[in-house]
């Protein structure tokens, strides 16, 4: 009974650590390329995040299942083949059912193949742990990545256009309102500044906690 409670606590901890303590973007600084590139608005950020969750879960499942058969010198090659397969499937799905979003994300969907988060989790977790733990780890990390992207994108979108999720929230000055859009927020500089401020905030909170 006590053993079950310990296990449950471990699983819960694994699921939650991707959100804060080992957040892939804010703590591990992984996956910076899509973080900066697709966070102009929440919709593409959410699509990218969910695509990464799908690839992360599927690749962790496969890597965990074949972990005992992996040859040490071929493992990176195996991880890459696995990740590339699921990224191709995600890319085909977006092209078939979300063509506008696929076009908007452009090369960043195929670039998930080289996203460090996925290969990092395959190497650090899935290749050493059971299937269940690997799935929980993938979901935790994936949700952490998606949430961070959405928060970053939300800040940029509202400051750049006065809208969130393409729903107008702040009344624009050229439409009789008061808000003047910050054009820089929709440019790369906006991504760098917002991410920098978010990292600083996370560091301050972590220091105060410790």
């Amino acid at each position: 009974m006590a053993n079950d409670a310990v296990k449950e606590g471990v699983y819960k901890d694994m699921l939650l650590r991707g959100l804060w303590r080992e957040n892939p973007v804010l703590r591990l600084l992984l996956g910076m390329c899509p973080t900066l590139a697709v966070t102009v608005a929440v919709k593409p950020a959410l699509t990218m995040g969910l695509s990464v969750v799908f690839v992360l879960v599927c690749s962790n499942i496969v890597v965990s299942l074949i972990r005992n058969l992996l040859k040490p010198h071929l493992r990176i090659l195996m991880f890459t083949v696995t990740i590339a397969t699921f990224v191709t499937i995600a890319d085909l799905f977006l092209k078939a059912y979300l063509p506008d979003m696929s076009e908007r994300l452009g090369p960043y969907v195929p670039l998930i193949i080289v996203n460090c988060i996925i290969i990092c989790r395959a190497e650090a977790c899935a290749s050493k742990n059971s299937l269940f733990i690997s799935i929980i780890d993938a979901i935790g990390m994936g949700i952490g990545f998606t949430l961070t992207l959405c928060v970053l994108a939300g800040i940029r979108e509202i400051l750049a256009t006065g809208a969130v999720f393409e729903i107008q929230i702040l009344a624009l000055q050229n439409q009789g309102g008061w808000f003047v859009p910050w054009a820089a927020m929709s440019m790369p500089v906006g991504a760098f500044i917002t991410l920098g401020l978010m990292l600083a905030l996370v560091n301050v909170i972590t220091k105060r906690k410790s």
Binding site: A37, I66, L69, L70, K71, L74, L77, M78, V81, T82, T85, T88, I89, L92, F93, K95, A96, Y97, P99, E103, G106, P107, M187, P188
Partner: protein, 206 residues
Amino acid sequence: MFRLKNFIQQSWLLIVVSFVFGLLIAVANAAWQDEILQNEEDKFNNLAKGMLTEAAGFETALDDAEIKSLKGKKIKIDIKKAISADGKCVGWAFICEGSGFADKIKLVLTVDAGFDKLAGFGVLSSNETPGFGDQIKLPYYRNQYVNAPAAALTLSKTGNPKIIDSEIVAISGATVSSEAVIKIINHYIEQVREQLQSKGLIADGK
């Protein structure tokens, strides 16, 4: 014999996994291919209709017209005729492609009914650098092609983009992408004209 045995021992998992994954991608591709093709066709029609505003629809004028690609390979393309609501031919539209800065650029090119002037181009797919090469999709660059002569175009690094002639002003910071579009259009336009002339679909200029 030892080498072969060692090779199989080391790589059997990779071979099996590659085969299974290849099969998985093939199944996904087969399952979604119809939707992807339909999306591409819808996009083609939307882009072409945006340029040939009088067009009510498109019908295939030349099926599998043989064209030499920029790499010198023989490829087949469909040349579509734009039909107005009263059944008149109001232009031509076809897909052309070539290498860009980062990846292949696929364009929809539209020409007027007499094949004298371009009606414009639309980007069907490209992976050009965001913020630089992908500006080929913007009106600033695309508008220079509307009503430009359907003949050899040239690229200029300076000039007035509002003057419509055979000289196209390059996008600052994206000369390679600008050049790629011109190269693709120049390469296809003459070959398509020849194809249509040989079938008697447009007047022979000779």
